[in-house]
């Protein structure tokens, strides 16, 4: 590899996004002058309280809910934990069975595993080779004891978008609550909780150019759910803790910006992504695109390159300024590669050799060009080192 001057290209927007300047600008006053505790009575509380309520309306508008149904959390993980544990514990008398999919985020899967230890029973539905859950499988899995179905709107690794509205309908046909983890979908998939038959929906600010450590749970009015974080009377007495006012304000502004023109945004991003995918598959042999050919997030490209391992790819890319992600076990220090890639039928070797590139608002065609220039070299180099590469 020649020692070219590096060009920083961030293509890991599914991991986290930078904050848009408008979002930071919206937050700044709340970092200094508007510092009051929003729950107090005096005027120092007015702007903080109004900031939070404005953000609540912004979130509500973005997902077709009412503001009273939006509860702020410290992120997507807390929202997932709350939705699933909260519904499970509140509906225990009605049943102990939960239906979810094998490709959920760990925030859902590990929560379900914890519930199994508390005496709940969980069905982890398989997916097809593209990562789709079959609504028929959901229907078949529902029993008299089922109290919750939880299937994500779009997958964080392979970008596959689920038939959420149908899954929600199936759940509702059987009188079962439906939760969806929409953390990756906000700003990329138009969301309407009524159209999608959703009772609970998780979202996370830092996935759509908002602040880290902020999120929200949508809870349809009347849904039986227990509190996860007990204490003071914040969030209609359902989620205690002094509110992260600047964070909430930033999340509100971010979701407003992210959902202002989803179609236009997707068009622009998908055009770059498609050129990237074509370019990579043309230039690199023994490569495949993981996930669904069409029902996928506009910004997601997930490849498997045979004979090489993902963490090495990441590090060589990083040496050239490119930030990406992998489903290889080596990158996490765990022993198994991505459960998502295994669930769509990849071998351990293919899963190990995966690379996820997720585009974002600041990426340009030049970034795509640069990756198309660097990536084939990187894969070639690692294949030279690998004992598996055919001669």
């Amino acid at each position: 590899m020649n020692d070219q001057v590096e060009r920083p290209v961030y293509m890991d927007h599914a991991a986290t996004t930078f904050m848009k300047p408008e979002v930071v600008a919206a937050m700044v006053p709340y970092l200094s002058e508007y510092f009051g505790n929003p729950s107090s009575l005096y005027r120092f509380s007015r702007e903080p309280r109004e900031g939070i309520e404005a953000a609540r309306r912004q979130v509500a508008v973005a997902i077709g809910a009412t503001p009273q149904e939006i509860f702020f959390t410290a992120g997507g993980t807390e929202a997932d934990n709350w939705a699933i544990k909260g519904v499970a514990l509140a509906n225990r008398a009605r049943g102990n069975h939960i239906v979810t999919s094998a490709i959920e985020h760990h925030a859902v899967l590990h929560t379900c595993e914890w519930l199994e230890k508390q005496g709940f029973s969980v069905t982890y539905l398989p997916v097809d080779g593209f990562g789709r859950v079959d609504p028929g499988d959901v229907e078949a899995a529902i029993t008299d004891a089922t109290i919750l179905v939880s299937v994500m709107t779009a997958n964080n690794e392979i970008g596959t978008v689920q038939p959420v509205a149908e899954i929600g309908r199936v759940a509702h046909d059987h009188g079962v609550l439906f939760h969806t983890d929409a953390v990756q979908a906000i700003g990329a998939v138009p969301i309407d909780v009524d159209v999608m038959n959703v009772d609970l929906l998780s979202l996370s600010g830092h996935k759509f150019y908002g602040p880290k450590g902020t999120g929200a749970l949508y809870i349809r009015r009347g849904t039986r759910i227990e509190t996860l974080i007990h204490g003071g009377g914040q969030e209609q007495r359902r989620r205690a803790g002094t509110e992260n006012v600047p964070g909430i304000v930033g999340l509100g502004r971010a979701i407003e910006l992210a959902t202002a023109d989803i179609a236009g945004h997707n068009r622009r991003i998908a055009a770059m992504r498609d050129r990237l995918v074509r370019g990579v598959l043309d230039a690199i042999p023994d490569a495949r695109l993981n996930g669904h050919p069409t029902e996928r997030l506009a910004n997601n490209a997930n490849f498997s390159f045979r004979y090489v391992e993902g963490e090495s790819i990441l590090l060589l890319l990083d040496g050239r300024g490119i930030a990406a992600s992998t489903g290889s076990a080596c990158s996490s220090g765990s022993l198994d590669p991505s459960h998502v890639l295994l669930a769509i039928g990849l071998s351990h070797e293919e899963a190990h050799g995966s690379l996820r590139l997720t585009l974002g608002d600041a990426n340009t065609e030049d970034d795509v060009d640069y990756i198309l220039e660097v990536l084939p070299e990187v894969i070639g180099r690692l294949r030279d080192i690998s004992p598996l590469t055919p001669p």
Binding site: Y307, V308, E309, E311, S312, L315, L316, G319, S328, A329, C330, S331, S332, G333, S334, L335, P337, H348, E349, H352, D384, I385, S386, P387, L388
Partner: protein, 145 residues
């Protein structure tokens, strides 16, 4: 989890990548815990390692430790190379993040397999391997956890 600069340097510019068509000893080990694979080729003259080449499928830690280990054993006697320890490889790399320590076992392991291959080809008894090839018998084996 973060690598030291030495690991990154060694990984980015690995030494001794390749094969030796006329190798005197050959070893291949795989890590059942994560699917990584290392092949090593040794040239041996007068009980000393005069050349070494490797190919590794694995993470940066695996590749860097392969590279550094093949450099370390050059000029060693077989019994010196046999006793190259994981700790020495780690030291040479300036340490590895905890979850990556097992990756550095691959190289000393492959070296021992190659040395025994050489001995067997010569009609000698293979030396007894104290550490396993990820058979799950060692106290620190990641397969167990």
């Amino acid at each position: 989890m973060m690598y030291t600069d030495r690991v990154i340097e060694e990984f980015t510019n690995p030494q001794n990548v390749g094969e030796l068509t006329d190798a005197d000893g050959f070893g291949e080990v795989g890590s059942p815990s994560c699917g990584d694979i290392m092949r090593i080729y040794l040239k041996i003259e007068d009980d000393r390692i005069t050349d070494a080449r490797f190919r590794t499928f694995g993470c940066a830690a695996a590749i860097a430790s392969s590279s550094v280990a093949t450099r370390m054993i050059l000029g060693m006697t077989l019994s010196e190379a046999w006793s190259l320890s994981n700790a020495e490889v780690l030291d040479a790399l300036g340490g590895l993040p905890e979850p990556k320590v097992h990756c550095s076992l691959l190289a000393p392991d492959a070296i021992r397999v190659a040395i025994n291959d050489y001995r067997v080809r010569r009609g000698l008894e293979p030396w007894e391997r104290k550490s396993c090839s990820w058979g799950g018998d060692c106290a620190s084996c990641p397969k167990k956890s």
